[in-house]
């Protein structure tokens, strides 16, 4: 365990630690472009040069391993001059088109120029002209003039996505990033090259010109695209309503989690946020009047729902009611659903498993075939001793008649196909649909209750490994929509039960006390990196 001294601060680190990693632990900033912890070391940008005692030349901090007694300086005049010199070299051929560059505001050229450069241009020659605004894939656009040739993207497609679409062509001052012949940057992880690009060379076509980054507010969340539960940051524009066609969520960015997704996220997850601000969002309760769905207020809707549930129960008993929950819901939502329907109303026909006719595939990296974020949590909470199997009813195509169906976030028409879905729904006298977006299934319901999306709620998801992870609301629920657990609470209160939860945190406290698998968990323990359920088996993909 060597001990290193950086800028008079000492630290003992494991063998093999590089100076840049040690400095990070000491909160000393060493500028870098090519170094990325998730990629191999290129050492080519020469920004991380540091002075090491007893070494005549400056050394790159990214590639120099710490040895015992090493004394490093990152602030000496020699280092500053070298770093400033390198920055000058990077900028001489940079087009300085920050005004039209989406990276402006989170660009490391800007950041380091303000911190380490601040020199006036000495370039008296014309800048080298290169390819600009070149579409290199479905999600990525390339501007080779802005490129600092750090090769992060090239190493990413070599080492992480292993798809080898891009490379550096030509040499010397003419070097530039290009697509390999007959290649398109269209792998499922292509969006990550935008994240790792320290400058504006690779920008996101989806985000292009939609919003300036300094307008964005950020909230830590978890991707709802599949059961991997990649950690993300929901970046929303809450300041300038006229940007991005009025969209609030502007983009999702991966958030580092060593245990789950590291720095990466797949494109399916990255661009899977569009439904949040889609015009199809349900923003008020609706009730079927004839063929049309007519709006009504929440208290009427809750009374209508509770009245129908009571009626169905009185007429046909608890067995005539079926509750279909969804693995898209948070643990808190699911818990309140079970508590109200299962415990308080005594309905034991609760399930969330709907067979999907669309076969979805996983890849060998992050994406999983199960495209629901909380299947594991739903199993732990809803199947806790329950033996009801919805799938049998659906597949048996029986003519048995039921009283009421309460459907959460499940587009049956999409999953089962139009005919089977209609046949199944036709078995029920009354259908209540609770969900965030309008779809064909919601159109078939008698009563529609608007629920908030995952970006608008606090709560937890449990990924396929049983890792419980926090999600934070980045924006307010749209219109009159409510987090699913609040919808259920409203129904429960209308039905005369005391559901006084103020927040998702309070629900989770009770969840942890009630559901055995969640025993001992709390939001504090989960923290930002999540926490695994004790002794659980991963759900098969």
């Amino acid at each position: 365990m060597p001990t290193v001294t950086i800028n008079q601060k000492s630290l003992t680190v494991p063998e093999g630690t590089t100076i840049i990693q040690a400095a990070e632990q000491l909160n000393i900033e060493i500028p870098r472009y090519c170094y990325h912890p998730g990629l191999s070391i290129a050492g080519s940008c020469r920004m991380c040069l540091v002075e090491i005692e007893k070494m005549p030349k400056l050394q790159p901090a990214c590639n120099t391993r710490v040895t015992d007694g090493m004394v490093v300086t990152t602030q000496s005049p020699k280092v500053k001059e070298a770093v400033s010199g390198v920055l000058e070299f990077l900028l001489i051929n940079h087009p300085l088109d920050c005004p039209v560059c989406d990276q402006a505001g989170e660009c490391y050229l800007q950041e380091y120029y303000m911190k380490f450069g601040l020199h006036d241009s000495r370039m008296n020659e014309n800048k080298i002209k290169r390819h600009k605004a070149e579409v290199i894939g479905p999600h990525v656009i390339l501007d080779t003039e802005r490129c600092v040739l750090c090769s992060r993207c090239v190493r990413f497609v070599r080492e992480v996505s292993r798809s080898h679409e891009i490379g550096i062509f030509n040499r010397g001052g003419q070097s530039e990033i290009r697509l390999l012949p007959d290649q398109v940057l269209d792998n499922n992880y292509s969006g990550n090259v935008v994240d790792i690009c320290p400058v504006g060379a690779l920008t996101d076509r989806d985000f292009r010109f939609q919003c300036r980054v300094w307008y964005l507010s950020k909230a830590d969340s978890v991707c709802n695209g599949c059961s991997r539960g990649c950690n993300i940051t929901v970046e929303a524009n809450r300041q300038r309503a006229h940007h991005g066609e009025g969209r609030r969520v502007m983009r999702l960015k991966p958030r580092f989690n060593k245990e789950v997704n590291r720095w990466w996220i797949c494109d399916i997850g990255r661009y899977g946020y569009k439904f949040i601000d889609d015009p199809s969002r349900l923003i008020q309760p609706l009730e079927k009047q004839g063929d049309e769905l007519e709006p009504l207020d929440w208290s009427t809707a809750a009374e209508r729902a509770v009245g129908r549930i009571r009626e169905a129960k009185q007429r046909g008993g608890a067995g005539s009611i079926v509750i279909v929950a969804s693995p898209q819901l948070t643990n808190e939502d699911l818990f309140v659903t079970r508590k109200f329907f299962g415990v308080d109303l005594g309905i034991d026909q609760i399930d969330f498993r709907i067979p999907d006719k669309n076969t979805l595939s996983d890849d060998d990296f992050l994406l999983r075939a199960d495209r629901n974020p909380n299947t594991r949590g739903a199993e732990a909470i809803l199947l806790d001793g329950g033996g009801f199997d919805l799938q049998r009813i659906i597949e048996s195509a029986s003519t048995q008649s039921f009283g009421l169906l309460y459907l959460c976030e499940q587009d049956l028409v999409k999953k089962l196909g139009s005919e089977p879905a209609r046949r199944f729904l036709g078995q029920f006298d009354y259908v209540i649909y609770q969900g965030s977006n309008e779809n064909e299934t919601s159109g078939l319901a008698n009563l529609v209750l608007p629920a908030a999306t995952y970006a608008e709620v606090n709560g937890t998801f449990t990924n396929f490994e049983g890792r419980v992870q926090r999600i934070h609301a980045g924006i307010e629920p749209l219109g009159d929509s409510l987090p699913a657990w609040r919808v259920i609470c409203k129904l429960a209160q209308t039905a005369g039960f005391d559901y006084g939860y103020e927040s998702a945190a309070e629900v989770f406290v009770e969840l942890a006390q009630t559901v055995t698998e969640f025993e001992g968990l709390s939001y504090e323990k989960i923290g930002s990196e999540g926490m695994k359920l004790p002794e659980t088996q991963p759900v098969p993909a």
């Binding site: 005004p99 010109f209 939609q210």
Partner: protein, 163 residues
């Protein structure tokens, strides 16, 4: 603040009142004299007032004067603005609304699909001009009479601002 103690005469107030009246009436009479003289045709006598008769007589604006905004143009008449949102960001009144669009020329890339200034909200601080990296917005039109019959008409669109 150190105040001087008033002496007796000053504390009496009356003498000071008369001093004041002397001064102001002095102005009155000398100005009246000039006014009368000019009315009678002695135009070489200097004017009795320092004011300008605004709509007819206009003082030249200082070059730094901040009047109504305009968007500067490229040689082909398109706006120089690249929709970088710097002015929108700098604007303390939040009266600038820009929506960016994709320009077919890769050397321009970004152009303002919409550029509105709500002059009813604008505080004429000139921050937008300072913030502009492209010299695309200026406040040098010399137009100061900005009025409309509705709030909506006070919103100037890109076509108005380009003129």
């Amino acid at each position: 603040m150190n105040r001087r103690d008033l002496n007796f005469a000053e504390r009496l107030y009356l003498s000071e009142v008369f001093k004041g009246l002397w001064l102001t009436s002095g102005h009155f009479f000398s100005n009246m004299k000039k006014h009368l003289a000019r009315q009678l045709g002695f135009t070489r006598i200097e004017k009795g007032a320092v004011t300008f008769q605004y709509p007819e007589e206009r003082r030249p604006f200082s070059p730094r004067y901040r009047s109504r905004h305009r968007l500067t143009q490229r040689e082909d008449g398109s706006p120089r603005c690249v929709a970088c949102m710097m002015c929108e960001t700098a604007c303390p009144a939040r009266c600038i609304y820009i929506v960016a669009g994709e320009h077919p020329d890769p050397n321009i890339e970004k152009y303002p699909a919409r550029f509105d200034i709500d002059l009813g909200v604008c505080v004429f601080c000139g921050f937008c001009v300072e913030a502009c990296p492209e010299d695309a917005i200026r406040m040098d039109t010399g137009i100061v009479e900005i009025a409309a019959y509705s709030r909506k008409e006070m919103i100037y669109h890109i076509e108005d601002l380009l003129q």
